[in-house]
């Protein structure tokens, strides 16, 4: 064959390869997850430049977003505000609604659920200036706060903090952690709150802290921290932990930072949890991972691969349940350190919600920078639909990926393909709470 002919054939082959379509599995499924426009909730609130930790619930064809407005540290007066958001992603309460006006202390870490025609918003409140109590208030779909004085869910003498709430078939179940008597360590408590505002007696669920709760139609999953581990247990509607005869245990667990999100699949399929991997360190021996696992109705963890190791997944191939990882990504020299660190670092908060067909997850991914080049400098949010523990939108669909920092996502779905994601957007040190709709069907 003459050289010219060889070159021509090679060029044709290259051209043919270039014009081949990219395999669908390698790119986000176009059109499967549509992200709406960004809407700012209450641009000129009393919190000036400080607002954080949004939460979202859904009920009666609208979303209720809640957040802490204002500085929550010493001398601060952060307050929980709520705003209703329509299915179109537009706010119905542009000036926000202050939930529990109070002259003293700070209000933090709000969570939302819907049952019996009302939203229940829970938070912890440091109005005595010394320790936190868990309070709650109901909000009607018309935007009216139904409790002139907050419902006192847990207001004992010591710290009662980090509440979460889920709706089940009887009403609301609130969980939190608190300190009793002279105990050195906290316990997880639960208490029922009715849609009429009535409160049941607190029940000790287990030793532990920072509980998260999700109802799968038959039982609650309570996931909580135990030292440097996360554990979970199944709980009935009376707040009693359920014995697992298969594993002969009350709870299961996995090592690693307890921060995670959870939502229910169904009574037959259990729950999902999303949790992150290690944090940055000087030797780049810690991998960033955002990953999914299914918790079966029996309380067993199901995921194809997992690791808390420092050197990469087995065989060098990230398991299918990993949403995102720093493993194998571009690296950059860290400053003041001795090694290279990844340029992106999936880490921190995530949010899960069901859309009727799938669960959807929104997770954080940071770009590394700052003075050390290993500071998580700019957070972005990505989303994927999940079929059990399997991500369907490989690599993630960007929800918020601007030059501003977009972090701390919260998510709720209407069960028919429409979801609302609320998050913090920080630019030049000024934080706002913004929302976007996600459409899956």
């Amino acid at each position: 064959m003459r050289p010219l002919t060889t070159i021509s054939l090679a060029a044709l082959l290259c051209l043919a390869l270039l014009t081949l379509p990219v395999p669908a599995a390698e790119a986000p499924a176009a059109g499967a997850l549509k992200v709406g426009d960004e809407v700012v909730l209450m641009a000129d609130g009393p919190g000036r430049t400080m607002r954080s930790f949004p939460a979202v619930g859904f009920g009666r064809d609208l979303f209720l977003a809640a957040w802490q407005e204002g500085w929550h540290g010493k001398g601060g007066g952060s307050r929980i505000y709520v705003a209703r958001v329509g299915l179109d992603g537009k706010t119905l309460d542009p000036k926000g609604i202050e939930l529990a006006p109070c002259k003293t202390g700070v209000q933090e870490y709000t969570r939302v659920a819907f049952f019996g025609g009302v939203f229940l918003v829970v938070w912890h409140d440091m109005r005595n200036g010394k320790d936190c109590d868990v309070l709650a208030a109901r909000v009607s779909p018309e935007g009216k706060v139904l409790d002139a004085q907050p419902i006192s869910v847990a207001a004992g003498p010591r710290t009662q903090a980090m509440p979460d709430v889920a709706a089940d078939d009887k009403g609301f179940m609130v969980v939190w952690h608190g300190f009793q008597g002279e105990e050195v360590f906290p316990k997880v408590f639960s208490a029922r709150v009715g849609p009429d505002g009535s409160r049941g007696e607190p029940v000790v669920v287990t030793d532990g802290a920072t509980p998260r709760i999700a109802w799968n139609g038959r039982e609650h999953l309570v996931i909580y921290s135990m030292g440097r581990h996360k554990r979970w247990l199944r709980m009935d509607t009376s707040g009693k932990a359920l014995w697992n005869p298969t594993t002969r245990s009350w709870s299961e667990g996995v090592a690693g930072d307890p921060v995670c999100s959870t939502c229910a699949l169904s009574s037959e399929r259990g729950w999902l949890i999303v949790y992150h991997g290690g944090e940055p360190n000087w030797w780049y021996r810690s991998m960033a991972i955002q990953r999914v696992a299914r918790i079966t109705p029996e309380g067993k963890k199901e995921a194809p691969g997992d690791t808390n190791g420092n050197y990469g997944p087995k065989g060098g191939v990230p398991p299918e349940n990993w949403l995102d990882t720093s493993f194998g990504k571009e690296t950059q020299a860290n400053v003041g350190g001795s090694a290279h660190t990844p340029a992106v670092f999936p880490y921190g908060g995530s949010a899960l919600a069901a859309d009727g067909q799938y669960c959807v997850v929104v997770w954080q991914r940071y770009h590394m920078g700052g003075a050390s080049n290993m500071e998580m400098a700019n957070g972005d949010l990505l989303a994927s639909r999940l079929d059990g523990w399997k991500p369907l939108d490989k690599g993630g669909v960007p929800v918020a990926a601007s030059a501003a920092e977009e972090i701390n996502p919260a998510l709720a779905g209407n069960g028919a393909g429409k979801l609302l994601c609320a998050y913090e957007k920080v630019e030049d040190g000024r934080a706002r709470i913004v929302v976007r709709t996600l459409q899956t069907q």
């Binding site: 710290t159 003041g336 040190g429 000024r430």
Partner: protein, 429 residues
């Protein structure tokens, strides 16, 4: 085979020939130590201080079981504290308030918290916010106490900021030196680096924070990879440094807060803490700029590189004391001692300035005659734990001192809080 046998025979002959020449002769061995004197050639790695049994440790802030989300309240019930894994991030003021900078490695999620004398822990500044403005709207920085002005300063972000108390009780943060987020302009290729000194608000500081301190005259010293800066009367100047060893530059790595005040206003200590020959704690005479090694084996001068250098070793400071990935020293005015520690140190040791020049272990190792006690989460969160039982499978870090003789400690493996050690014969909790 013949060649091999030949080589072996030659080697044997050479060895025999050398023997009478003196190699291994008894009179060439070092003399045995005098009775009662320490055998310096076989010194153990740990040399306990006489006071080791008098030290106890209390949990000061944070709770191992309270989870990784930060919230406020009674200091011993707070979750998610995560003190910055660096020395000197706990700053105690004369009124008993303790400031703690918290962050992940590299500086993510930095927050400055305050533990009031009544034990209430509050957030002062978070990781998001303004550079200047009302304190609650500003982002955190490394805390420095100005004893002359009785004011908190904040270092970082290429600048030095000051917390000003307003008449109405509110606090305001303002930049007093440097240009926020503006690092020094790099020199043209091939030209030496010249620090950009001058009027304080026009000077530039390097991005990666290495440490800053303020003496009783209100003068701030700011350590950089290429020198030491002085911030005084609205002006920034460079301190001309004179190295007394061959290595005429710093070789810092990995850590921050490598600068410490000294026993008077003309003395500082600099922990030049990594690299061959660079594992040294230097006394800086500010009048002359002279840097003098006061701790850390210099393997090039003292030899013994493999026996003790690069290990957590006690003993005579200049010939036997060392640490693993670096060594650092911070001055404790109450005890007139340098606390000796390092990035991989399990023990907290000291070099008493009025002592015999030895580094000795005070915290984190058990004397051979003592029995190990249970040291679980309950002890880790309790009070009065014997300091020699306060053992870490990774690292115990020096974090600061207070005027009552307290020593603040953070731990690598339990990132949830701060501990305070003290000599129960000297001070009360």
């Amino acid at each position: 085979m013949k060649i091999t046998l030949g080589i072996a025979a030659t080697a044997l002959a050479a060895a025999v020939a050398c023997w009478p020449a003196g190699y291994g002769k008894a009179e060439d061995k070092p003399a045995a130590p005098a009775p009662g004197a320490p055998d310096l050639d076989n010194l153990p790695g740990i040399v306990f201080d006489d006071s080791v049994g008098d030290w106890v440790v209390d949990r000061f802030a944070g709770n191992t079981m309270a989870g990784s989300w930060f919230y406020q309240g009674p200091a011993l019930e707070v979750g998610g504290l995560r003190p910055n894994r660096a020395p000197g991030e706990c700053v105690a003021t004369p009124d008993g308030t303790v400031y703690v900078l918290c962050a992940l490695s590299g500086g993510s999620f930095a927050k400055l918290v305050e533990v009031a004398p009544d034990g209430t822990l509050r957030l002062l500044m978070g990781d998001k916010g303004l550079i200047e403005g009302p304190m609650e709207l500003c982002r955190a920085g490394h805390p420095i106490w100005n004893p002359k002005e009785k004011t908190l300063y904040l270092a970082g972000l290429n600048c030095l900021r000051k917390v000003v108390q307003k008449p109405d009780g509110s606090s305001w943060v303002e930049v007093v030196a440097g240009i926020p987020n503006k690092p020094p302009t790099p020199p043209p290729y091939g030209k030496p680096y010249v620090p950009q000194d001058g009027p304080a608000r026009e000077a530039t500081f390097q991005s990666w924070y290495r440490g800053a301190v303020c003496n009783s005259r209100g003068t701030v010293f700011w350590l950089e990879d290429r020198g030491l800066r002085r911030i005084e009367n609205g002006t920034v100047s460079s301190v001309p440094l004179k190295f007394s060893e061959k290595e005429e530059s710093f070789s810092f790595i990995m850590r921050q807060n490598l600068l410490s005040l000294g026993e008077n206003n003309d003395t500082l200590y600099i922990s030049d803490n990594y690299g061959a020959g660079h594992q040294r704690i230097l006394r800086c005479d500010l009048k002359t700029g002279q840097l003098t090694r006061v701790c850390g084996i210099n393997p090039k001068a003292a030899g013994d590189r493999y026996k003790r250098y690069g290990r957590e070793a006690d003993g005579p400071a200049l010939t036997h004391a060392s640490d693993n990935s670096g060594i650092w020293g911070h001055y404790d005015p109450f005890h007139r001692a340098l606390w000796i520690n390092g990035p991989d140190a399990k023990r907290i040791r000291w070099l008493k300035l009025d002592g015999d020049g030895w580094v000795r272990t005070v915290i984190g190792a058990l004397r051979p005659e003592m029995k190990p006690q249970r040291f679980g989460p309950r002890e880790l969160n309790g009070a009065g734990v014997p300091a020699e039982q306060f053992i870490s499978d990774r690292y115990n870090y020096y974090a600061g001192t207070d005027s009552k003789g307290g020593l603040y400690i953070i731990r690598w493996t339990d990132t949830t809080g701060v501990w305070r050690a003290y000599n129960r014969k000297e001070v009360k909790p």
